[in-house]
Every structure is written in structure tokens, then in C-alpha cells.
């Protein structure tokens, strides 16, 4: 079996060795490959999974993708505990260590700048949902009062649409305000595409899907702010995720999207 080298992240050399041996994809131990004052965190992955053709096939397999993504995230997570890693996109693979080294040489200035910019910072994810069930319930109530005429029916349907539109408008306004407030308490902000409900299996409709770059030392304050900013709006839900490594703020994603 030939092995390829999978790169999880780049970071500055760790001050101290890791407490425990990290395990990466497929349970393979990770290694720190130091070159030009930068460290690439790598592990072996089997060529039969990560060569171009099998990789394409695997990516269509949600279970495989999930396991790989979680293994990748685990490594980033452990690193985040001891340093500020520059996380790489999923499935960055090289034939051998010399490939990894020349990659570092090619872009070392970019990497160094990004690492310095992100040092001591983490990413928080904030999502706002509009809870459709609120209007659905109203809908049920309306259906319960049986329409007695065509005009009645139309009026009821109108009320229902109005309730939905009103909630939608409210949720958007809420999300806009929250985003403005949180952005002013963050060093940087990114808007991700709202998630589809089928995939997230979350209740309600995703109105805001944002990421904020916050200094580690100010994170507690930021989280409290998210907690507080709510104005008891019925039908609106806020979800917080993190702290994440600064995936959305590497500034080195151009040429992709």
C-alpha cells in the first residue's frame, strides 16, 4: 500500500510537544513537518482512497465525507488548544514530504502573514432561524375555523400569508441588526450561504449564517453579547457554534468560489 501525505494545517513551531499523540484520518498518527520556520501537520493516507479517482468517488459518499471531515476537524481542534493553526481545505494531499516542503516554500510569505494576522483569534459561528412552525400553527388554527364561504377562505389565506411575511420581515431585520452588532465586536465577519433545512435538519428557515473573527481573550464577552442581543422575538432562534479555528478568515481561498 502506497501512502500519500495529507496536510491538515500549517502553524508556527509548537513551543512544547503535544500531550498526546494526535490521530488523524483513518487513525494514522500525525507528524509535524518543519520547514523554513513553518510546520505542516501531516499524516499518511492510503493512495487507494486519496488518489484522484477514488477521492472523487468517495466525495459522493456522505458517510465517508463525514468521517473524513470529522477526523480533519479533530486534528484542527487539538491544534487550536495549543496554537493558532492555519487550517487547510479538506483533502489537501501530496505524494511525499518533498511535495509538502516545496508547497511551503512557494507560499511561505502568505502563510506567515496569515498566521500572524490570526494569532490568538478564533472564529464563532452564529446562525439565525425563523421558526416557520409559528405560522404553521396559526395556519392550523385558521383551518380549524372552517371557512364558510369562498370569500372567507380567501381572507383566511390572506391572513396566513401576512403572518408569514411579517415573521420573515421581522427575522430579516433581527438578523441584520444582530450581524451589525456582532460585526462591530469582531475583527472581521463573513457571511456564509444560509443552510438548506434538508441538510441541516434544523427546524425553521436559516436567515443568517455568519462567522466572526474574535480574539480569544474577548470571546467570553462576544458569547455573552450573542446571548444578550436577543429581544425575546417569538419565532426567532439564534444558534452559536465554536470556537472554531479561523477557517473562514484565512484570506487564502481565492481562485475557488
Amino acid at each position: 500500500m502506497t501512502a500519500l501525505r495529507y496536510v491538515y494545517a500549517l502553524c508556527f513551531p509548537l513551543g512544547a510537544p503535544l500531550q498526546e499523540q494526535m490521530k488523524g484520518i483513518g487513525g494514522a498518527p500525525t507528524e509535524e513537518l518543519e520547514h523554513h520556520g513553518l510546520v505542516a501537520v501531516v499524516s499518511d493516507v492510503p493512495e487507494e482512497d486519496f488518489a484522484e479517482t477514488p477521492l472523487k468517488a468517495h466525495l459522493e459518499d456522505l458517510d465517508w465525507l463525514a468521517a473524513t471531515a470529522r477526523a480533519h476537524q479533530h486534528v484542527i481542534d487539538v491544534l487550536t488548544g495549543v496554537t493558532t493553526p492555519l487550517p487547510l481545505r479538506l483533502a489537501t494531499v501530496f505524494r511525499d514530504d518533498s511535495g509538502v516542503r516545496s508547497m511551503i516554500e512557494d507560499r511561505e510569505d502568505d502563510f506567515r502573514h496569515a498566521l500572524e494576522r490570526l494569532e490568538g483569534r478564533v472564529e464563532w459561528g452564529v446562525k439565525v432561524y425563523m421558526d416557520d412552525r409559528q405560522t404553521d400553527t396559526a395556519e392550523d388554527n385558521i383551518t380549524a375555523t372552517k371557512a364558510t364561504s369562498g370569500r372567507d377562505y380567501l381572507r383566511q389565506r390572506h391572513t396566513r400569508t401576512m403572518a408569514h411575511d411579517e415573521l420573515w420581515g421581522k427575522a430579516e431585520e433581527f438578523a441584520r441588526r444582530l450581524h451589525t452588532t456582532l460585526s462591530s465586536h469582531a475583527e472581521d465577519a463573513r457571511l456564509h450561504t444560509p443552510q438548506s433545512a434538508t441538510l441541516s435538519r434544523a427546524a425553521g428557515r436559516n436567515v443568517l449564517n455568519a462567522a466572526y473573527l474574535v480574539a480569544r481573550g474577548r470571546s467570553e464577552e462576544f458569547v455573552e453579547l450573542v446571548d444578550r442581543t436577543g429581544d425575546d422575538s417569538p419565532g426567532i432562534r439564534v444558534e452559536l457554534t465554536g470556537p472554531w479555528a479561523a477557517y473562514s478568515f484565512t484570506g487564502l481561498t481565492e481562485g475557488e468560489t
Binding site: E187, T193, N209
Partner: protein, 64 residues
Amino acid sequence: MTVVERREIALVDLLDRLLAGGVVITGDITLRIADVDLVRIDLNALISSVNARVPSPWPEVSGR
């Protein structure tokens, strides 16, 4: 309003970051999400949801 802090990371949140974020480096094996023939329903929808350039209803606000 309720604020929910999730302990378990949802796959969709993870993929938002791992497929649309992170440093893009052309390795020896190039993974181009756009080239992948995404036939599986879930994943297909997922990738288009992650990569779609849906215009935001308001201008992106930067912290500084």
C-alpha cells in the same frame, strides 16, 4: 429568542468551513469540488448550498 449552544458539531457547519473555507492549496492530487460529479442527492444539494453565490440581502459589514 433562544440561544442554543451545540456541543456536537453539525456536519453541515463543518462542511461550510472545510469545503468553502480553509487555505486552498493545489496539492499533488487536486480536489476541485466543482469537478466532482456529485450524484448523491444530499451531497449535491450540500455542495451547491455551500458554494452557491447567493447574494446577501444586505451588504457585508466588516468589523473594521
